[in-house]
Each structure stands twice: as C-alpha cells, then as structure tokens.
C-alpha cells in the first residue's frame, strides 16, 4: 500500500504529514540551538565599540552570510509549516492539509529566494 520508512526505532509512513511533522521538529530543534547561540553572541555586542566591530567583522564574512541564508530557509519552513499546523488545529485545515503544505512551502520558497538575494547583495 504505502512505502514505509524508518527513523531510528520509530516507524513512520511516507505521508506528506509525516514528513512535515519530522522536518518541523528537526527545524525547531535547530532553531532553539541557534537562539541560544544568538542570545550569547548578541550579548558580546555590549562590551564596547571595539568588541562590537570585531564580532561584526567576523559575522559579516561570506561564510556567515551563507549560514544566514540557510537559517532564513529553516525559519521560513518552520514558520510556514507552523501556519499549517495552526490552520489544521483551529480551522478546518485538516480537510486540505496536503494542499496547504504544498502552497505554504511554495510561498516560503519564494520568500526564501527573495530574502537570500537581499542578504547576499552586500556580502561579496
């Protein structure tokens, strides 16, 4: 009937919803890890102008600009799939959750491309 996939000791079915679920979790875990780093790094900006300039020079390197593009992508996926979750939970989204997933991920992809252009225009 459906192709089965395995993640560690749990079995998932190859549905759109299962992929949305596991990717949403992984993206969420990546984002909270990033948030911890972010709060810590931003804290160093208060040590004075010299430290601020050193940190900013380090963070404006092309490598970090590319990581920023990736971060923007993970944020958009989590945010737009999150919209789908809210629509499914509070409105009648479950009737069309697969179509919603495709439409919202497509919208996220457009914003990702647009944002990436804006992020990279000063980078190189």
């Amino acid at each position: 009937m459906y192709k089965r996939t395995r993640f560690y000791d749990f079995t998932y079915y190859n549905f759109v919803g299962s992929w949305a679920w596991i990717l949403h979790r992984l993206a969420g875990l990546a984002l909270i890890f990033y948030l911890c780093l972010h709060i810590w790094v931003i804290h160093t900006l208060t040590y004075g102008e010299r430290t601020f300039n050193d940190v900013m020079a380090f963070l404006s390197s092309p490598l970090f600009k590319l990581l920023e593009v990736g971060l923007w992508g993970v944020i958009l996926f989590h945010a737009f799939n999150g919209v789908r979750i809210v629509i499914v939970d509070f409105f009648k989204g479950s009737l069309a959750h697969k179509k919603l997933f495709v439409a919202l991920v497509a919208a996220a992809f457009v914003l990702w491309a647009l944002g990436s252009f804006l992020l990279l225009r000063h980078a190189f």
Binding site: R25, G28, L29, L31, I32, L35, C36, I39, W40, I42, H43, L45, T46, E49, F52, N53, M56, A57, L59, S60, E68, W72, I75, A79, G82, V83, I85, V86, D89, F90, G115, L118, L119, H122, A123
Partner: protein
C-alpha cells in the same frame, strides 16, 4: 494509564495552546526582525551607532523583551514536547525539565541584561 502521565495531562493542554499562541506572535515578530535587521541594512553590517540609536528608542526594550520571552518559551517548550515523546521515566523527565528551566532562566538573564545595557549605554 501510566502513572507517570497523570501529572502532566492537564499541563499538556495549556502548553499546547500556549505553543500555538506564541507561534503566531513569533511569526509576526521574527519576520519583522529579519526584515529590519537583515534585509533593510544599507551596508554589509550595521554600525555600533545604528544599533545603539535603535536600542535606545522607547519601544525597543519592551518589544525585545516580549520577543525574548516568547521565543525562549516557544523553543524550550518545543524541546520539552519532543522529549516527552521519547522519555518515559519520571527521573529522566525531571532531569530534562530541570535542565530546560535552567537554560531558560540563564538565557532570559543574559538577554535581559543585553537589552538593559544597550538601552542605558551612553552614545559616544
């Protein structure tokens, strides 16, 4: 029903709702955060002066503090709901819960300190 689940059954419902409410708030705040801090910058990175000037407007501490609390709650509660799926013993749940609360309190402290310091620092 497993005796371990009795105490969390009601808290879980509140956490479920708060996770969605904080999600909607974060959707707006995080996208605005990215637009203002990452996309609308005219140069490769923002200057020390620009950051301090913005950090010292009246709305900055209020908005950033709300952002900090909402993001930390949403992220750590997200980790907690993942952990609840994979951790079943009372002991390990307590260990993880304690760890998450500790990380949350520490980052809330560091983040609040950053906001207050930026707000009260003198512009050179």
């Amino acid at each position: 029903m497993d005796k371990n689940f009795k105490q969390t059954s009601r808290a879980g419902a509140v956490a479920w709702l708060l996770q969605r409410i904080s999600a909607v708030i974060l959707f707006v705040l995080l996208l605005l955060h990215f637009v203002t801090y990452h996309f609308l910058t005219q140069t490769r990175s923002v200057s020390y002066r620009q950051v301090l000037e913005r950090a010292q407007s009246w709305w900055f501490p209020l908005l950033q503090f709300a952002f900090l609390v909402t993001a930390l709650y949403h992220g750590l509660n997200g980790i907690w709901s993942v952990l609840e799926d994979y951790t079943h013993s009372k002991f390990w749940r307590l260990v993880w819960y304690g760890l998450l609360v500790t990380v949350g309190v520490a980052l809330l402290f560091v983040g609040t300190l950053t906001i207050v310091k930026l707000y009260t620092m003198k512009l050179a």
